[in-house]
Symmetry: C2
Subunit: 385 residues, 2 copies
């Protein structure tokens, strides 16, 4: 399936005569160039910019493989581009950068931006990914989205919205424990804070529970300690698990035990999202949890980014959004959750299938509505006028 | 024809089930990544790299439009990519850089190079284009080719080879006069020197005939003066035209007159290649020249780069050449010339049609043979083994 690569660049017009040639190329193309030169917004009408996303990586955090470099990362970026196209008709192209320097990555993306309608950052290691995304969001006028952070966060929230319906709890009332505060862990935490969750505790294997008062050399840990753990609990992960309603793992295999699950509140919700080996295996956890989800396709409730990024970019491109903001991500999460009809919701079905055509359609609609409401849409698509 | 852009990124495999997904993306793709991580050459087997060319511009010298910027240049780069695909099945993607700085352009191309099997530089203004190409050729292990220079030079030489057959003259005996020594003029001059032409005189509108002894602030002019004009002729363009066998114009409209043509040697050959308005109009020149060619599609003998770059890159990609060297370009020129059968050669047919399928096939073959002979081919394609 990978032989020769998984993508091809095709032409949307064919050239069979001198006349065709004079239209698509010189001299005919000059008129199109000058129209864009006079009004750069016309690039969205007359070039690939309106439908093109760069899938950008430096190859430092590829799947669970780590820093394998830009060339070895290419099969994943092609796979991502393939999913963009198959799921949402987006023309995505892999850009694998031969540098790991934060400033150089930012510079490279800014230089290549003219061709693209959006930038999807992928598999760039933490903490560089935070600054790269923040800076690019500020300095470019097209959406920049680090899928490992926000794609994951959107799907996690979608799953949680539906899981909470099953157990009859509210976002504002739950206690959530995070294991792992890398790129995805931080993004998921921010998403839950934005969604109204107030009681979040984070822990890592190296420093245990993050809490106010402590000083962390890692600025991400410092931020985390200052914005979570309202009761100032200290200790290790098992100490945090007491009375937790929800556990969200974005760390590594075998981080929690059956004992931890037994200490949770009634109807525990466990999202063990480490790939490929979750924080606890579903068959081990089963007797002690009410709702269990993983990142794997071979268990129920796969929390897969493929549910989020295609529809999010489809929506952002269709309204020519200048950014993908919090409101658009929130709308995407609720849209994904809405695809599972209430009557079909169950412990083993909290998210729709990635092949359900409703997913992209509803995510797109939610994203466009949110973009228009928050005034980041450059145009209103015909079906929203 | 340009609405929505002229390119689309398509998938070569489809994803219709969870199983497909697990093969093209995680977890299946990890095996492919690790294979490339262990042996980077495998990227040519398992990714798009084997067939992908970046069409890189900074938008500073777009067609005859000048410095219109990277976004406005995009329709031309898409057109170029379209021709790569339609003519030679090459997957080309436009990269329009938002910088005009020589060092930054070099840096940007080096950073994005991992995805590509070749780099086609396009519409970058002189003299920056020379250093950018030279440096990238040295610093990258994939072919780098500035089409405005070398594509033009290859087609010019192809046309000249056939024109000389008609008038019964040899490359080594002719006197050639150039008007314009920009990127294309210099490349054409170097190509003729490499092909055995010894008597070349160049002139520009601003400084007249370039000659030894004079000092030029422009290093390109200095080089030119030192490598041409063996008799040390001085004066203006009309002074050079006396007894010239060939005139090659890569300058601008109305640079030569009927008087100049009358001063040429018997059977004058005039390539008035300025676009869109040639150095002298064919209908004006007709009574005084034996063979006339232009860059235009509405006159006979169109010297069009489309005859050269698709086949050159097809050949370079197919043998995974590390560079496109002089020998490969020379082979391409003779290959193009060979497509017109001797018995069909005439004053109005010195080059084949751009739609003649033989062109890409023969150029590819010539380029591959030359690459193998000069030891710059990484592999020998099956049909050359």
């Amino acid at each position: 399936m990978h032989q020769g690569g998984k993508l091809t660049v095709n032409t949307r017009v064919s050239v069979n005569s001198r006349e065709d040639l004079s239209h698509v190329y010189t001299p005919g193309v000059a008129r199109v160039c000058m129209a864009i030169h006079e009004d750069p917004d016309k690039a969205f009408a007359y070039t690939v910019k309106s439908n093109t996303v760069a899938v950008v990586t430096d190859g430092t955090a590829v799947l669970g493989l780590g820093d394998i470099g830009p060339v070895a990362a290419l099969p994943v970026m092609e796979g991502k581009a393939l999913l963009f196209k198959e799921m949402a008709g987006v023309d995505a192209f892999p850009i694998c950068l031969n540098t790991k320097d934060t400033e150089e990555i930012i510079q490279a993306v800014k230089w290549i931006a003219p061709v693209f309608g959006g930038i999807n950052l992928e598999d760039i290691s933490s903490p560089r990914c935070f600054e790269i995304e923040e800076r690019l969001k500020r300095e470019l006028d097209i959406p920049v989205f680090h899928d490992d952070q926000h794609g994951t966060a959107v799907v996690m929230l979608a799953g949680l919205i539906n899981a909470l319906k099953i157990v009859g709890k509210k976002l504002s009332d739950i206690k959530v424990v995070f294991s792992g505060i890398g790129a995805a862990g931080v993004a998921c935490t921010k998403m839950l804070l934005a969604a109204g969750v107030t009681h979040i505790i984070g822990a890592t294997r190296s420093v245990g529970i993050l809490h106010r008062g402590a000083t962390y050399s890692n600025p991400v840990m410092q931020w985390y300690a200052e914005h979570t753990n309202p009761e100032g609990i200290t200790g290790k992960l098992p100490d945090a698990m007491k009375d937790a309603d929800v556990f969200i793992g974005l760390s590594g295999p075998n981080v929690i035990t059956v004992e931890d699950l037994k200490n949770m509140a009634a109807d525990p919700i466990v999202f063990a999202m480490a790939n490929p080996n979750p924080e606890i295996m579903p068959e081990v956890a089963a007797p002690y949890v009410r709702v269990m989800a993983t990142g794997r396709s071979d268990y129920p409730n796969q929390l897969n980014n493929v549910l989020s990024f295609p529809g999010i970019f489809r929506g952002a491109l269709d309204c020519r959004a200048t950014v993908i903001n919090e409101e658009m991500k929130m709308a995407a999460a609720y849209a994904i959750a809405s695809v599972v009809p209430e009557e079909e919701l169950s412990e083993s079905r909290i998210v729709p299938s990635v092949f359900d055509k409703q997913v992209v359609e509803r995510v797109r609609a939610g994203v466009i509505r949110a973009a228009i409401e928050t005034k980041v849409a450059r145009i209103v698509p015909a079906d929203f006028a």
